[in-house]
Symmetry: C3
Subunit: 105 residues, 3 copies
């Protein structure tokens, strides 16, 4: 099998204008890359049904566990109180791990 390195995939979904600002902040926190999607819906709206409502975006970051934690702490501290956002993470195996900050890639 091709060589891979374990990393975290962090996903943050929310209002497009907030997500756009968040891209810059995530860069300042230390993420060297991200993927940005325009989406509909947004997840976990509770009692605010937003089906078919436009204007949301999804940010996806592949990074080390430490950076994942810092990004999620930032989002939790600065956005979760006032914005309808969701955030989650899981494990992925990346090719060329050194691009993501792996020290043993």
């Amino acid at each position: 099998m091709i060589k891979t390195v374990p990393m975290k995939r962090v996903v943050i979904i929310g209002d497009e204008t907030v997500e756009y600002r968040l891209v810059k902040e995530i860069h300042d926190i230390g993420a060297t890359g991200y993927t940005y999607y325009l989406v509909r819906g947004g997840g976990a709206m509770g009692d605010r049904p937003r089906h078919a409502e436009p204007g949301n975006a999804k940010i996806e970051i592949i990074c080390t566990p430490d950076l994942a934690n810092r990004v999620l702490e930032h989002v939790s501290t600065n956005y979760f109180g006032n914005y309808a956002m969701i955030a989650f993470l899981d494990d992925v195996q990346v090719i060329r791990g050194e691009k993501f900050g792996a020290t043993d890639a």
Copy 2:
């Protein structure tokens, strides 16, 4: 590390008109949120190559294992016989688990 709660991520990819209808049905089944993407291709078409064919969509739902099962049973029973759809799920760790129905979040 920031506190997380385990949830399921359910993905359903298929024809855009079917996916749009499915959003409403998934809401009725109990999902409080979803993310909806317009995509090309569609996965696992068997002998029907659809590369570069437009008109597909992807629904992604973060939810409890129980709700994931009910959504997939619904899709399997009502759509798989007649539509070129694919569905799969995996595990994610969410922030603010109470938004997704976690009882211990």
Copy 3:
């Protein structure tokens, strides 16, 4: 719980023109389906900040471990030296595994 079969989810993100060509090559390698997204950003740009730069795409393939390996070997051999691409994989549980080449589905 609904019956599922373990498969790999392969993700390749890069320049849209390269990704478009890659779809054809992945088909020749044996993938019967894929999902194609237009995205912004692209992940792991190193010292080339491309925030808000358009023109990237993401290919997602659900397939057997063997096919996942062949696709990633192809991308690694033919593209990684000259293109700013990232690739990673993880595990998913699919419904109707026979669509993805599972022999015991």
